[in-house]
């Protein structure tokens, strides 16, 4: 038998060979001269990192204890790989298009690049993988112990410690050569592929030895099964289904499996090959498991550990060479797992935990790229040491008593808590970050409470009393019988509750929460991933004429003609349309995109060629473009309306200006005319008086009287014009005082009494209430009333002329009406009533200048009221409205105080 030192030497030589292979592969990869490194076979063999020390040693132990149950650990991955088209292909596509570096990266990226989620997933993966690392240490320690004869002086924990140290060094040297997390580890993958061959060859060799060396073939060895292997009456049990489910989940959720299946994948075709080649590898890895278990149970003492049958059987029959190969197989299985798991986990820790902290700590300075590089390398190396240390701690805390299979299953269920968030993220648009965090944390907590902590058998956090009676003796909270459930198998129990609650909360919280914009965007990218830019290929269902028509509609006739003529000329065609080559399709899509946007252009061509290559992302992009176009269109429409409104206002202002200009001209003309008439008269009579020496005294007096009258008229006219000018400019001074309405009316009546008496006009007044008082410029208001009453007296030509004055209080206004029973104002003249110099025939005859009503209107405006003419069937009625209390506007400065 080999000594301990001899075994260590063999291991070191083997590791040296692996180093050489890895280094050689790395060099070839850097030179680009090793296409086989990217072959599907190497890829498939690297996936065999799934087969760890557990499957190498533990599967035989499981078969010896539970019969065919071990098959489930291989059937689960088989079902996932034969269904690769629907799940793994999507994962690989997303991994490549999104440059995903780890499973934490995938989940955080899907849920809006949320680093908190990445940290949670990373910690969960580290904790979940710890039992698995411990499992490798245990399997290696056991194999060392049984193989090396002189390890009596070394306890298993010491061996485990040095193995952990050796594996940490091994992984650091192997796995931290490059810091690019997305870069393929050609050297590592090639070394793992070599290890895959070694472990399968070892297991097959031991199997052949047992079946044909120790027995007379398969029938003979299987015939011994009933005597040594337990068998139940039912094959497909809840535990069987649970184990298959967990094994299938492990292929997706274990960090190391994600690393080799997704991150290290270089081509989709490799995955297609692995879809049958990897299950075939598993098939051969498990083919001799049951025979070896039967052989070990038959030929070895009952005290022999079934987990070590693979090594102990050859040793028992002095097959040292075969035993050494078996040992190397187990060594390969364990080391490959540790290397890849440590690479994956250290990448996650350094990227999602250390790097953000480092950036935060160094945000005040501008770090150099070398700083980041060296920091990441150090972080990864320390992470690897930490991961191995945790594994060793778990190994020592559990005292190495648990069977290999049970430790592996604990790890499987731990990382399986990521499954709902991953599947939901890949297939459900409405899955949210809050749902994922809630689901993962709840599932993880239940896993820890119902399976992980109980695995320490009372040595960590949960005491034996808690395990037996529940916390605070609450029976329905017993870790292995939650809510009083009667599920005997702790694994089935933990799986049911942890995954069930996880999925339930994930769905519920997702439905109750709203995804952020980045989550929605990532959902579109991951739920409908697209690789590269397949676009369109010529040779599909359309004619170039259809494309030409499409181009005409989008680009315009001339542009489409020029575009197609250019292509036809490039293809050597003098007439006709060009051939629909791929180049034409690409160029046409670009041309169309310039007009309708890239997504719409893509969609149009997809429809035209009937490729049905419209993804959800295309539709979203189309919707975005359409929304932009609609927004732009609405903005244009708004601007157009604003412009139209502004133009209308400008037209109105222009019209007013024109009208004002015309009014000014008319006013000047009328003023000139009004002034000229008396001036002409004054001048003529003044010349007569000057030039006629012998004139009668009576004539002289008459002419002088005419001159005087005309002068008075001229003065009055000028006063009125001046007054109107003041009123229009708003600079007329108002003298506010209080007076009763009756007094105001009486004042007006007194002024017009003589005129009314002369014309025989009866004036009636009706003021209610009699006590009505108002506060305004009483003189100005009286002026308006006088003007209105005198107009009514002068023009109210009736048989029995009556003028009626009424006054009423309406709210805060006093409304006064002055009406007569005369002929009124003809309808065609009513719009001119308040115009300056607006005179109707009879007015002119009666010497009016036509400014009275214009002045009255302006006075009322200055008093804060209004003057209107009310068209009625009989007579003329003017209505003035004046505030009962005139509020004088304060200067701006005073108002501000």
């Amino acid at each position: 038998m080999l000594g301990f030192n001899g075994l260590v030497t063999i291991c070191l030589v083997y590791v040296g060979i692996l180093f050489l292979v890895a280094g050689w592969a790395d060099r070839r990869a850097r030179k680009g001269t090793a296409s086989f490194l990217s072959s599907p076979i190497i890829y498939t063999l690297s996936i065999s990192v799934y087969c760890t020390g557990w499957t190498f040693y533990g599967a035989v132990g499981s078969a010896a204890r539970n019969g065919l149950e071990f098959v489930t650990i291989y059937l689960g991955p088989t079902l996932v790989f034969v269904g690769w088209w629907w799940l793994l292909r999507r994962l690989v596509r997303i991994g490549r298009t999104q440059r995903i570096t780890s499973i934490a990266d995938l989940i955080s990226s899907r849920y809006g690049n949320n680093n908190l989620l990445a940290v949670i997933v990373t910690l969960l993966c580290v904790i979940g993988s710890t039992p698995y690392i411990a499992l490798q240490l245990k399997s290696l320690t056991l194999s060392f112990s049984i193989f090396a004869a002189d390890t009596d002086g070394l306890s298993p924990s010491i061996i485990g410690f040095w193995l952990a140290v050796g594996l940490a060094l091994f992984t650091i040297v192997f796995g931290t050569r490059s810091i690019d997390a997305n870069e393929r580890h050609h050297g590592v993958v090639t070394a793992i592929a070599l290890e895959a061959v070694v472990k399968m060859a070892a297991l097959l060799a031991v199997g052949v030895f047992v079946v044909w060396g120790l027995s007379d073939g398969p029938a003979d060895i299987l015939s011994k099964a009933p005597d040594v292997i337990n068998q139940s009456d039912t094959l497909i049990t809840p535990r069987w289904v649970t184990l298959t489910f967990l094994a299938a989940t492990a292929i997706i959720c274990l960090p190391r499996m994600f690393q080799v299946v997704v991150v290290e994948n270089t081509a989709e075709a490799h995955l297609a090959t692995a879809s049958w080649a990897f299950p075939l590898y598993l098939f051969f890895m498990s083919l001799f498991v049951l025979p070896i278990a039967i052989g070990g149970s038959t030929f070895l003492p009952a005290s022999a550990n079934p987990d070590l049958f693979v090594v102990s059987l050859p040793l028992a029959f002095d097959q040292f060479g075969l035993a050494t190969l078996a040992f190397l197989g187990g060594f390969s299985a364990a080391t490959s797992m540790v290397i890849v798991a440590a690479i994956a986990l250290s990448t996650m820790i350094s990227t999602h935990i250390v790097l953000p902290l480092w950036i935060r700590a160094n945000q005040d300075r501008n770090p150099q790229s070398d700083d980041v590089r060296s920091m990441l390398l150090v972080a990864r190396r320390i992470s690897i040491i930490g991961i191995l240390a945790l594994g060793y701690l778990y190994y020592t805390l559990t005292d190495g008593t648990a069977a290999l299979a049970s430790i592996g299953l604990i790890a499987f269920l731990g990382v399986a808590q990521l499954l709902p968030s991953i599947l939901g993220g890949l297939f459900w648009n409405n899955a949210t970050r809050h749902g994922a965090i809630t689901g993962i944390l709840s599932g993880f907590a239940i896993w820890a409470y119902t399976l992980f902590l109980p695995s320490f058998e009372g040595r960590l956090l949960l005491t034996e009393a808690v395990l037996q009676n529940g916390p605070f003796r609450i029976a329905w909270l017993r870790p292995e019988a939650l809510f009083g459930s009667n599920i005997e198998d702790p694994l089935v129990h933990a799986t049911l509750f942890s995954i069930g609650v996880n999925a339930l909360l994930f769905i519920t919280v997702s439905l109750l929460s709203v995804p952020s914009a980045s989550e929605r965007l990532q959902a579109v990218r991951m739920v409908s991933p697209r690789v590269g830019e397949p676009r369109f290929r010529a040779g599909e269902a359309t004619t170039v004429e259809d494309l030409y028509i499409l181009a005409q509609r989008i680009l315009g006739r001339q542009e489409a003609k020029a575009f197609f003529e250019q292509f036809a000329a490039a293809q050597g065609r003098q007439t006709g349309l060009p051939s629909p080559t791929d180049d034409l399709m690409r160029s046409l899509e670009r041309e169309l995109a310039g007009t309708v946007g890239s997504a719409t252009a893509h969609a149009m061509l997809a429809q035209a060629v009937g490729s049905e290559d419209l993804s959800f992302e295309d539709l979203f992009a189309m919707a975005d473009e359409t929304a932009e176009i609609m927004e732009y269109s609405q903005e244009l429409e708004l601007r157009s309306r604003e412009l139209a409104d502004t133009a209308a206002k400008l037209r109105l202002v222009n019209q007013k200006l024109t009208d004002l200009s015309a009014q000014k001209d008319a006013f000047l003309s009328q003023v000139s005319h009004e002034l000229r008439t008396p001036m002409t008269s004054i001048r003529a009579f003044a010349e007569i008086l000057r030039d006629t020496s012998k004139m009668k005294a009576t004539d002289q007096r008459r002419f002088a009287s005419i001159i005087l009258d005309e002068s008075v008229r001229l003065t009055r006219l000028l006063d009125e014009i001046l007054d109107l000018s003041f009123l229009e400019s708003g600079s007329a001074k108002l003298n506010i005082s209080k007076m009763s309405m009756v007094s105001v009316v009486n004042k007006a009546l007194l002024a017009t009494e003589a005129l009314a008496d002369g014309a025989g006009v009866t004036i009636l007044t009706d003021i209610r209430p009699k006590t009505l008082r108002l506060e305004t410029d009483v003189d100005r208001l009286s002026q308006v009333l006088i003007n209105l009453v005198s107009n009514a007296v002068k023009y109210g030509e009736a048989k029995t002329p009556i003028v009626k004055i009424t006054a009423r209080l309406k709210s805060t206004d006093v409304v006064v009406s002055v009406s007569d029973n005369g002929p009124g104002i003809p309808a065609q003249h009513q719009h001119l009533i308040f115009e300056k110099f607006a005179r109707f025939t009879s007015q002119h005859e009666k010497g009016s200048a036509g400014l009275g009503l214009a002045i009255s209107k302006e006075i009322m405006r200055n008093l804060g009221g209004d003057l209107r003419y009310l068209a009625k069937p009989v007579g003329a009625t003017f209505q003035l409205t004046v505030p009962q209390r005139r509020v004088v506007e304060q200067p701006a400065a005073i108002a501000a105080q």
């Binding site: 088989t78 034969v82 269904g83 289904v241 081509a267 075709a269 299950p279 049951l290 006709g576």
Partner: protein
């Protein structure tokens, strides 16, 4: 007369066939689940039979599933993107 270059006919038929091939890929894992996760094997009496028979039955069915996956890979060769 203008030449009428025509892009090859039957693209939609080819696309439909491709879709059917892809849907076939869904059939294999469903079949696998039906065999290995449902009570089908027990209903067929494999639960009560000897361990050797169980072993042979499971490995035979497993091998058949792998063979189907191998055939599917060949059938889907056109759809698989060569990078």
């Amino acid at each position: 007369m203008t030449e009428k270059p025509r892009i090859s006919e039957g693209a939609s038929v080819l696309a439909r066939k491709a879709r059917k091939r892809a849907e076939l890929a869904f059939f294999i894992p469903v079949l696998g689940c039906l065999i290995f996760l449902s009570p089908l094997l027990d209903a067929l009496g494999f639960g009560a039979t000897s361990l050797a028979r169980q072993f042979l039955a499971i490995f035979f069915l497993w091998g058949a599933l792998i063979a189907l996956a191998f055939m599917l890979r060949r059938i889907l060769s056109q759809e698989i993107e060569e990078d």
